[in-house]
């Protein structure tokens, strides 16, 4: 097999490789900053084949030319990031010795969310010796999936085990030249998931629900690649409703989805990274490039996101609707409180005929936060009879926050129909009083009304996720009224 030879050759290359700097490969942490040597170090650490390293280097060299191209168009204010002040490779974080060392505030949130104790420990980064039931359950399912031909493994492993698939699809939706953060990710990503669903298979379980525990700790530059072959279906859940213990400042992940003929991918995210404190100190900068290509006819990609965390969110999960009759959907809830800022939305690029897209966005802004929906609907000249429907609603809680809607609609086809509606309002006094009159507290009332406002989005989440997400909506808005 050509692929096997390639792998063998690549392994040889790695062995031959000489490191250009003093830190040797056994060390747990690369020196601070970014250079070609760091890129080589990461690649070597992962034992990557030469082609992978070359790709990383191409990306890195290109990134150097983008020094002036760091995006500034988003409605986000933050100090300039010093990319030489970060560590780009570090071994997994130090585990805490016991639950007693965990921030009690974090534990309280876990309790409110109803997260089982065992999972709490893992989320909080406590060293755990015992094998939890859920983990062994995961192993069982993993085996079953393998038998069905599903490939689901860390991308660092897939590079070795399935180089032909990775080579074919990696960077095919988000090329290494795509944008400042995506290019950076190409150069320095440490790990992430690789999923391949074989032809005609309807993956019988939500991927990552059972795995979320093992699949964590992929670091700040995550890379996910999901390929759904002809006629297959998969539902993938990313993230976790509980807040993550993570002190990394910058996250620049890339997610690529590829749906071939008649395939369907459902990708759900609940993002609750550390948002910083009430005064805006700390918190994650979340610069994420997520894009799906509906490459085949009748294919479908559906993004659902519930974004409640991070100090800064810059994220536009998009769909390129290439195949005729393909469908793209985007459902989003973005909540910002205190000093959080979010600039998030989607792009729906209609290229094929009879393609359809739907965008439902619910933005909630409280405290001193700013929340922007930014979206693009582009109808190409060949996208006959295509349809887009967009609904963006914003809710303001308090008079110190902002809510903004910036849609771009570009149509080049007469037979296509686009429809966009947006509203901005606050929770009405009448609604609030009605709830209070029935005995609810102010916070209960707000939580109830906001959850109702978000319902269309939340109900697209898988059941157990939806319940947690609802609770998260309430928790995120704590302290916003009073």
């Amino acid at each position: 097999m050509a692929a096997n030879q390639e792998t063998a050759a690549a392994v040889k290359n790695v062995e031959q490789y000489k490191y250009g700097f003093v830190t040797d490969i056994e060390s747990d942490m690369a020196p601070k900053g970014l250079s070609e040597d760091i890129v080589r170090f990461i690649s070597a650490k992962k034992g990557e084949p030469e082609w992978m390293l070359e790709w990383r280097l191409k990306a890195y060299r290109y990134w150097l030319t983008l020094a002036d191209e760091e995006p500034t168009w988003a409605k986000l204010i933050y100090p300039k990031i010093d990319y030489q002040a970060s560590y780009y490779y570090a071994a997994p974080k130090q585990k805490l010795a016991s639950m007693d060392e965990v921030d009690p505030k974090l534990l309280e949130t876990y309790k409110k969310l109803g997260i089982p104790l065992a999972e709490q420990a893992i989320l909080a980064g406590v060293a755990v010796d015992a094998v939890f039931d859920s983990v062994s359950v995961a192993t069982t399912y993993k085996k079953k999936l393998e038998e069905m031909g599903v490939i689901f493994k860390p991308i660092s492993e897939a590079v070795h085990s399935h180089p032909e698939l990775v080579k074919k699809y990696l960077g095919s939706v988000v090329p290494y030249t795509d944008n400042f953060y995506a290019t950076l990710n190409c150069a320095v990503f440490t790990d992430g998931s690789f999923v391949y669903i074989p032809k005609g298979l309807r993956c019988p379980m939500e991927l990552s629900t059972y795995f979320r525990i093992n699949e964590k700790n992929t670091g700040q530059f995550e890379r996910t690649l999901i390929v759904a072959d002809e006629g297959s279906y998969v539902s993938y859940l990313e993230g976790c409703t509980a807040p993550q213990r993570d002190e990394n400042q910058l996250h620049a992940a890339v997610v690529e989805l590829i749906a071939l003929d008649d395939a369907e991918i459902k990708y759900s995210t609940v993002q609750n990274w550390y948002p910083g404190d009430a005064d805006g100190r700390g918190g994650i900068y979340n610069f994420v490039t997520k894009r799906g290509a509906c490459r085949g006819k009748n294919s479908k990609i559906m993004w659902t996101q519930v974004e409640t965390g991070s100090a800064i969110t810059w994220k536009y999960p998009s769909c390129i609707l290439q195949g005729d009759n393909s469908v793209g959907e985007f459902y989003s809830v973005a909540i910002t409180n205190n000093r959080q800022q979010a600039d998030t939305g989607t792009k729906m690029i209609h290229l094929g005929a009879n393609t359809r897209s739907k965008i439902i966005s619910k933005g909630i802004s409280a405290g001193h936060a700013d929340n922007t929906y930014r979206g693009l609907v582009r109808i190409g000249a060949k996208a006959d009879k295509s349809r887009n429907y967009t609904q963006c609603d914003s809710l303001l809680i308090g008079d110190k926050c902002g809510a903004h809607t910036v849609p771009y609609i570009e149509s080049r086809n007469p037979s296509a129909v686009t429809e966009h509606e947006a509203t901005t309002s606050k929770i009405s006094d009448d609604q609030l009083f009605y709830c209070l009159q029935r005995g609810m507290t102010q916070e209960e009332a707000v939580s109830l009304i906001v959850n109702g406002f978000c319902k269309e989005v939340l109900q697209t989440l898988p059941m157990e996720f939806a319940v947690e997400a609802q609770k998260l909506v309430s928790i995120s808005l704590e302290g916003s009224v009073g």
């Binding site: 009448d430 709830c435 009159q437 102010q442 109830l448 109702g452």
Partner: protein, 251 residues
């Protein structure tokens, strides 16, 4: 001690005095009707008791079992047992009637130090109550009041009342916009709740409702004051003669 006592209540809206000294006492088990022409403060009275913002009480007292109601926040009043059936119930998109009811019910239970109701128990309870009111059970799966007809909204108010079992229920023009059948259903629901330890304050413009919910006492509210009080025959008299003499007398 009266269950609900209103003493010399003065209240204004945007600086304009609407209530000019209302005094009223509801004993447990009683139904009081307040009648009066439009714009005399009937809705103001119900909103002030329930604690809506924008109403300023300038003088007087409202006591529930001797407790100062005016010192409580709106939700505290509700949990203490004051229920207002709204003239215009609001629509809350995305929030199902059942989620709403469960939240309200648990808020009350928690305040009373009781255990929260579980999903099964709640469903059973709702089923029982909707059946008793002749309402389709499916209604509670719909978003609260969204797309409800006038009659459905009022029935939903009565359903909430039967679920929350208030001490004092205030019905603000519950009859407005109802046809005779809906009126009968709503009234039956209210009558089924009449109990020795509960009182009702029925605010209405027309005597019609009082054929179904028969009051123990009828009061005429005119120009922000109780201009006359009597038995149920007073309602019939008002129906026949109108309010003119009370308005003139008060002016």
């Amino acid at each position: 001690m009266a269950l609900l006592e209103i003493k010399n209540l003065h209240a204004s809206v945007a600086g304009k005095e609407i209530l000019k000294g209302v005094t009223l006492a509801l004993e447990p088990g009683e139904v009081h009707a307040i009648m009066g022409p439009n714009g005399t403060g009937k809705s103001t009275l119900s909103n002030v008791i329930a604690g809506r913002e924008g109403y300023e009480v300038t003088k007087g007292q409202v006591l529930l079992d001797g407790e100062d109601v005016l010192a409580m926040a709106a939700d505290e009043r509700a949990r203490a047992g004051i229920f207002l059936a709204f003239q215009y119930p609001v629509e809350i998109p995305g929030v199902t009637t059942s989620a709403f009811l469960k939240t309200a019910l648990n808020a009350k239970r928690r305040a009373a130090g009781e255990k929260e109701i579980d999903a099964m128990e709640f469903m059973k309870l709702v089923k029982k109550k909707t059946e008793a009111l002749g309402m389709p059970y499916d209604m509670i799966k719909r978003a609260l009041n969204v797309g409800f007809s006038g009659g459905e909204k009022k029935r939903a108010e009565v359903l909430q009342m039967t679920m929350l079992e208030p001490r004092v229920a205030i019905l603000d023009e519950t009859d407005s916009g109802l046809d005779i059948d809906a009126l009968r259903v709503v009234s039956d629901g209210v009558n089924s709740l009449r109990a020795p330890d509960r009182a009702f304050l029925v605010i209405t413009h027309y005597q019609r409702l009082l054929d179904y919910i028969v009051p123990d006492h009828v009061h005429v509210l005119a120009n922000g004051r109780i201009a006359a009080s009597g038995g149920k025959e007073l309602a019939l008299e008002l129906e026949a003669e109108g309010y003119a003499k009370y308005l003139n007398a008060a002016a």
